[in-house]
């Protein structure tokens, strides 16, 4: 009798493909989800659909070109990546960034966090079939996008950073920014109230639970980790840009239940924190130059050979860049660890045990940005098997293929 219970017939398990093309996942990730009736029993996460070889491309370009290349790593974090990269370059070149430039970088970074979190909130609402909240969230977000355009000239690819400073000064009156932020604050509190409503709680509460131990074991970062009770935030732990001076004007939001609702709360409250932080930032905004005097290309040629790591708290979590310059205004090696890559592995413990109806919500709750996280995958077309390769393996296969 005991054996009968433990062995399950093969037909009771069904594998359904989830992605890479799926209306719920805007990002091309493939989840092979094994289900028994409506319950998820196993998940296999496959990446490799949008690898763009950004790191290899970086090695063929000079430092200034690479700032714009890193901007294109991600559409939503289009300020975090260049910030992270330029910080590394400035560390190698020992360049002092003017105070005002540092504050302006922080301003754009926080505007980016607000718009990213609102975008995410809209996506979450869409996944649970709540189209009205989706429309409202994206409507609020438009105010921030307009601010981005007024300050930098672009809504998405803001091109704010340059080596040793920023490219655009703040020409928008601060009252204008404050007015938009006040609107955002009110609307965000409204969204927060909607989340306390029963219809949203029914879909979010207790879904996709990631325990604190799992969150630590799988090295999760950002709101995912903070939603599971880990107090981690690069802005507080290792302040960069102007976050050291603004340390007292924001707090790290931590929730302990580890479900989708707690991750949503973390992001909503973080949006409010960002609004307050920008308020404080505008008050303390110092005067002075915004970039180094002289041509940026001349500055670039002076960057010596060296290496540096740089960390930034992107909206999705800790973003990590390792840069090794070749002393000839180029990059020898650029390594990007996007936050989504750190968080993707946590999908498995989150998904197992939930229903099919919860899959889109849980996947959206880590706010995956797959194209940022893509690494090399080799697909054998005969057996249809894929495997991730490391550098050593790549060297070996290059030799085996008969190349010198």
């Amino acid at each position: 009798m005991k054996g009968e219970r433990t062995t399950e017939p093969e037909y009771s398990r069904m594998t359904i493909p989830f992605g890479p093309v799926h209306p719920a996942l805007k990002e091309p990730v493939h989840l092979a989800v094994a289900v028994r009736r409506e319950e998820v029993v196993d998940v296999d996460i496959r990446l490799g659909h949008v690898h763009r070889a950004v790191e290899a491309l970086a090695e063929t370009r000079n430092l200034v070109q690479n700032i714009h290349l890193t901007e294109k790593v991600c559409g939503i974090c289009s300020h975090c990546h260049p910030t992270c990269f330029t910080q590394a370059i400035e560390e190698i070149g020992d360049i002092q960034v003017p105070e005002r430039a540092v504050f302006l970088r922080t301003l754009i970074a926080e505007l980016e966090r607000i718009h990213s979190h609102l975008l995410w909130m809209g996506v979450l609402a869409y996944e649970m079939g709540f189209d009205t909240l989706f429309m409202y969230c994206w409507r609020i977000r438009e105010g921030i996008m307009d601010l981005n355009e007024m300050i930098t000239g672009n809504r998405i690819a803001k091109a704010m950073n340059t080596i040793g400073g920023v490219r655009w000064n703040l020409n928008v009156p601060t009252e204008r920014i404050r007015r938009v932020l006040k609107d955002v604050e009110q609307s965000t509190q409204y969204i927060n109230r909607v989340l306390e409503d029963k219809t949203a709680k029914k879909r979010l509460l207790g879904i996709g639970v990631l325990s604190r131990d799992d969150a630590i074991r799988l090295c999760t970062v950002g709101p995912v980790a903070r939603g599971s009770g880990i107090k981690t935030d690069v802005r507080k732990d290792d302040p960069y840009a102007a976050y050291g001076e603004l340390r007292d004007s924001f707090s790290v939001i931590v929730r302990s239940s580890g479900d989708v609702l707690s991750r949503a709360e973390v992001r909503i409250l973080e949006t409010l924190e960002s609004v307050h932080m920008i308020d404080a930032l505008l008050e303390r905004l110092p005067d002075g130059p915004i970039s180094q005097s002289g041509n940026v290309l001349a500055l670039m040629r002076k960057i010596p050979r060296g290496e540096a790591i740089s960390r930034v708290e992107a909206p999705r979590g800790e973003l990590f860049h390792y840069v090794r310059t070749n002393g000839n205004s180029g990059v020898e090696r650029l390594k990007i660890r996007a936050p989504s890559l750190a968080n993707l592995a946590s999908l498995k413990p989150m998904l197992v045990g939930n229903e099919i109806a919860d899959i889109p919500l849980v996947v959206a709750s880590i706010d995956p940005c797959i194209s940022c996280a893509e690494r090399v995958t080799v697909v054998n077309t005969e057996t249809n098997k894929t495997h991730i390769v490391d550098v050593a393996h790549l060297r070996r296969s290059k030799k085996q293929n008969g190349q010198p």
């Binding site: 069904m14 594998t15 359904i16 493909p17 799926h22 209306p23 719920a24 009736r37 409506e38 609402a125 869409y126 996944e127 649970m128 079939g129 709540f130 189209d131 009205t132 909240l133 429309m135 409202y136 409507r139 219809t199 949203a200 029914k202 879909r203 229903e355 099919i356 109806a357 919860d358 899959i359 889109p360």
Partner: protein, 320 residues
């Protein structure tokens, strides 16, 4: 003997029903968009959608059982249209049929069942999940829907004919939603079942776009999808007209006296009330709610609408 009028009605009415139901869907979409602070599509957008789908090519998957796969949308659309026709004939032509309420209930069930058959025959795993969800939903809302008609049938003089119930309301002078406690409860129960039968958020679980990619409809395209679209919007028309006729039929001849065209005014009123019911039971819920899960929907229907319907039936059997 079938008269010429009846033949003409048969020929003209099918396109009229399709146009009416698509127009109703257009109003729903526009209202929904305005509530979401969008401009929204033009009211005739559903016509464009259906016409475009009809012109497109279609695919029958190799894994599908072709006859069931093709037959399902045709039967779904035919049954949905005929159910609407019966209700409209009852209101406009005052046709009297024995037990046509039963026929309408069965015809209304057909599109959902055909989606189950068509979906399961397509061989797609998402469609299989959608079909199983659809079965659960049918179990969930069909029973409350049936039970909610019992008080109206009893009050109408123990009849299963829609025109008898309409006639009884005319004689009473007040519509059933306001006249007896039993029928008022039944009306609430019926209205609560409308979004599930129409398959909109929060009860669009079998077709959840973000979860199972339209479930049973995933393999359908072109004219077959258009037929399912027509079936869906005509079912909405049937439901709201039925609700309007069974529970909200008010005779305005008391106000205007027995005018010559009073009958037309009454019929027009049924349609206006139907549009109001649609806005209340389909547009508003799908704007303000998130999608439920199957278990939650089942629990909801078997507690609130079924409870209300059973209580109403009990009351009506005691004469209240």
């Amino acid at each position: 003997m079938v008269s010429l009028d009846e033949i003409l009605f048969g020929i003209v009415s099918i396109p009229v029903v399709i146009v009416l139901s698509l127009f109703l869907e257009g109003i729903d979409r526009k209202a929904n968009a305005r509530m979401q602070r969008r401009i929204g599509p033009p009211v005739i957008q559903p016509f464009y959608d259906v016409l475009k789908l009809l012109r497109k090519s279609y695919i029958v998957p190799v894994t599908a059982a072709p006859y069931i796969f093709i037959l399902a949308p045709i039967l779904a659309a035919l049954c949905a249209i005929s159910s609407t026709l019966i209700v409209i004939a009852n209101i406009v032509l005052k046709t009297h049929m024995y037990a046509d309420l039963m026929i309408v209930i069965y015809l209304m069930a057909m599109p959902s069942l055909m989606k189950v058959f068509g979906g399961s025959s397509s061989g797609n795993p998402y469609a299989a999940i959608g079909a199983s969800r659809m079965m659960t939903m049918i179990v969930a809302y069909k029973l409350p829907l049936l039970v909610s008609m019992i008080p109206a049938a009893i009050k109408g003089g123990s009849t299963l004919s829609i025109s008898d119930i309409v006639q009884a309301q005319t004689q009473k002078g007040v519509c059933y939603a306001l006249s007896y406690p039993s029928t008022a409860l039944a009306a609430v129960s019926f209205l609560l079942c409308i979004p599930a039968e129409a398959g909109v958020v929060p009860f669009d679980i079998p077709e959840a776009k973000t979860e199972i990619i339209h479930g049973t409809l995933i393999e359908y395209g072109g004219p077959y999808l258009a037929l399912f679209r027509i079936a869906k919007s005509t079912i909405v028309l049937t439901l709201v007209l039925l609700a309007s006729a069974l529970f909200f039929y008010s005779d305005l001849s008391l106000i205007w006296g027995q005018a010559e065209y009073g009958f037309y005014i009454n019929s027009a009123l049924v349609f206006i009330v139907a549009v109001a019911i649609m806005l209340l039971t389909i547009t508003v819920p799908r704007t303000i709610f998130a999608r439920l899960k199957t278990g939650q929907a089942l629990r909801f229907f078997w507690i609130i609408p079924l409870g209300l319907g059973l209580f109403g039936s009990l009351l009506s059997s005691t004469g209240m």
